[in-house]
């Protein structure tokens, strides 16, 4: 795309521009001005600011006739200073656009450490939120590992050591003699045979039922009927009961993105 500085035209919308540093922090105070023209991702606007300001990337907020402000991150392609104003030809992109994009605003699961992360520091988002570019919103609440804040897997596991490696044999209750024992004791050649009364060819439902059996932990040997919902951290391997998990708000930011096509349509 070739950006050219358009000739002076009449203003079509008001613009507020926030210069930003390469690391994402906002610089100084916003500059106000007017949008002269736009073409695709190219914006020509005039800012009232002293000549000392350098060609930093910006976030511009364009307020249309309906009073709504849409924001876009831009990099300055050309600029020209006049006595008390600056004519800027900017193209959508740069770090501002990165932060305004969904990937920049919403925390994502980092694949190696299984932690929710946003690409920039909280201070940057706070400064953007302070001037009204971003709006803080709670996306979800998540339970995280109390050790490293990574995402665990949750499953029913041993109440003692939180291991998910469990043995759960089936117990069989033979109605006729009231014997209750593991299924393996009943298994005979091609059918089931009660080890107590020696009755053969047992039929499920008619002759026997399955009874609840204890879980046996293969790691610590703990026996219990009840399992507990526990977490197993995918990052640090910590096992912990669910009540020890850290509950954390998953916070993202919302931004009103500048829709150039909608703005043009509105102007027409």
């Amino acid at each position: 795309m070739t950006a050219t500085l358009a000739a002076p035209q009449t203003a079509i919308a008001t613009v507020v521009a926030y210069p930003i540093r390469e690391d994402g922090f906002l610089i100084d105070q916003p500059r106000r001005g007017v949008l002269m023209s736009l073409r695709g991702d190219e914006f020509n606007f005039e800012l009232a600011e002293p000549q000392t300001v350098r060609r930093a990337p910006m976030v511009i907020g364009v307020t249309g006739a309906n009073g709504q402000t849409g924001y876009a991150g831009v990099i300055v392609a050309y600029d020209r200073f006049r006595a008390d104003a600056r004519l800027v030809c900017a193209i959508r992109g740069g770090i501002g656009e990165t932060i305004l994009s969904e990937e920049g605003r919403v925390p994502a699961l980092e694949q190696r450490r299984f932690q929710f992360q946003r690409p920039y520091s909280d201070e940057i988002y706070a400064s953007w939120e302070a001037v009204g570019i971003l709006k803080r919103m709670v996306l979800d609440r998540v339970l995280l590992c109390p050790g490293c804040r990574a995402v665990p897997t949750f499953r029913f596991a041993c109440r003692k050591c939180c291991s998910g490696r469990l043995n759960h044999p089936l117990l069989v209750h033979h109605f006729a003699c009231a014997h209750v024992g593991p299924l393996s004791d009943y298994e005979a050649a091609a059918s089931l045979k009660c080890p107590k009364c020696q009755t053969k060819h047992l039929i499920a439902g008619t002759d026997f039922e399955y009874a609840p059996a204890q879980y046996t932990c293969l790691d610590c040997g703990w026996n219990d009927y009840e399992l507990e919902q526990t977490g197993h951290c995918l990052n640090c391997e910590l096992r912990f009961p669910i009540h020890k998990a850290v509950e954390q708000e998953l916070v993202g930011y919302d931004a009103e993105r500048l829709d150039a096509l909608a703005l043009v349509t509105e102007l027409e």
């Binding site: 117990l171 209750h173 109605f175 006729a176 003699c177 009231a178 014997h179 209750v180 024992g181 107590k196 009364c197 008619t206 002759d207 039922e209 009874a211 609840p212 204890q214 026996n223 219990d224 009927y225 009840e226």
Partner: protein, 426 residues
Amino acid sequence: MHWLSSLSWNEIAFIIAGMLVLDGPRYCLTTTLVVLYDWACDCYRVVIGRPEPAEFTHCPSVCVMIVGRNEGDSLPATLQSVIGIYPRLEIVICDDGSNDNMSTFAREWARQHSEISTTVVQRPWRGGKSSALNLAYQHSQAEIIVAVDGDSHLEPDAIWEIVQPFADAGIGVVSAMVRVRNAFTNLCTSCQAFEYLQSILVGRRVSAGLGILPLASGALAAYRRDLLERVGGWDVGPGEDLDICMKIRKLGFQIAFAPYSTCQTEAPTKWWALLKQRHRWDGDSSVRHFIRKHGDYTNPFWKTFTWSNLLVFWDAVIFHLLCGIATVVWLFAECLQPSNVPYLFMLLTIYVAAVLCEIPSFIGILYYSRTRKTDGVLGLILPLMPLYRFLMLIVRTQANVREILYRDSFNQRHVPPHVRAATWHW
């Protein structure tokens, strides 16, 4: 005396038969002998200055099993009575398909009392008490399994007392004392309370002393775990507590009685409920278990035969089955063949004799009891006991006859229908 001397031998035989079938002389004689023997032993110990033996010297690991259905209301007090009464204790609670909050409460209790190893087993549907017991005891590695009903409350030394007889390797099961918690609610419960004292505190002491105790009440009984495994656990009820004791006796082990291992249980307060309960209890014991299922007790060529088991068999058959039937026959005979003796006068004589026969067992109660004051007050009911016994005897006879004719015990609602349908009808 003049009246007695005027009777013919035939008439005296009728009177003696009446006394015999009322079971009085048996208790009277044996109780007198055993109480006198114990009294003599105590006197001898005092005379020679031998100190009383140390109370608790045996401390095996114990698992208290509480098996029940819809016992959510009574379970809290039962569990409360178990806390801190024995050092090597674990608890298994088995909920046999309850519709109430039994297992929820049990789990909550287990969480609150994490110092006691507690396992809660919840069956999603009802499978019967026997299989629930079989399921429960497999979840413990304790040497001694103590079965407790969900509505039984243990007294503080109950577990210590019940495990002491296991110091003798020949003891397989220990029966405990069951007392009526609501003894003074009404006449019905008072009669039951006195009957429990007679038949358990004194009667079982006598039977255990003679080596012919056949039963440990399901309300509180202790079993050696290895023996439970050898006999395959409990069979389908009703009467599963008698059945397993009989199976363990066949292995050559004795049943001991721990008179001061006490649990309190709730007795029926209505006469009709009591009669139904006794009908249920009595129907299966003599006919189903002694005669039909464990008839090999009488076979001297059978490998499990012992003379004490033979005595147990005849004790049950004569006094629990034949005496009842004889009573009914005797009553009819008396009605149909009026003798020279005025009928009411003869009945009154029998009744007075029966009351007199109760006195030795009452003395036995006072001698052995540790709560003499309360038990002494219950003795006021003694003159009514022959009447009560007669009522119970009629119920027992009816239950036995129905069992002989219809195998009634296999239709009891205490066993789930699908289990009833599948089990063997002895």
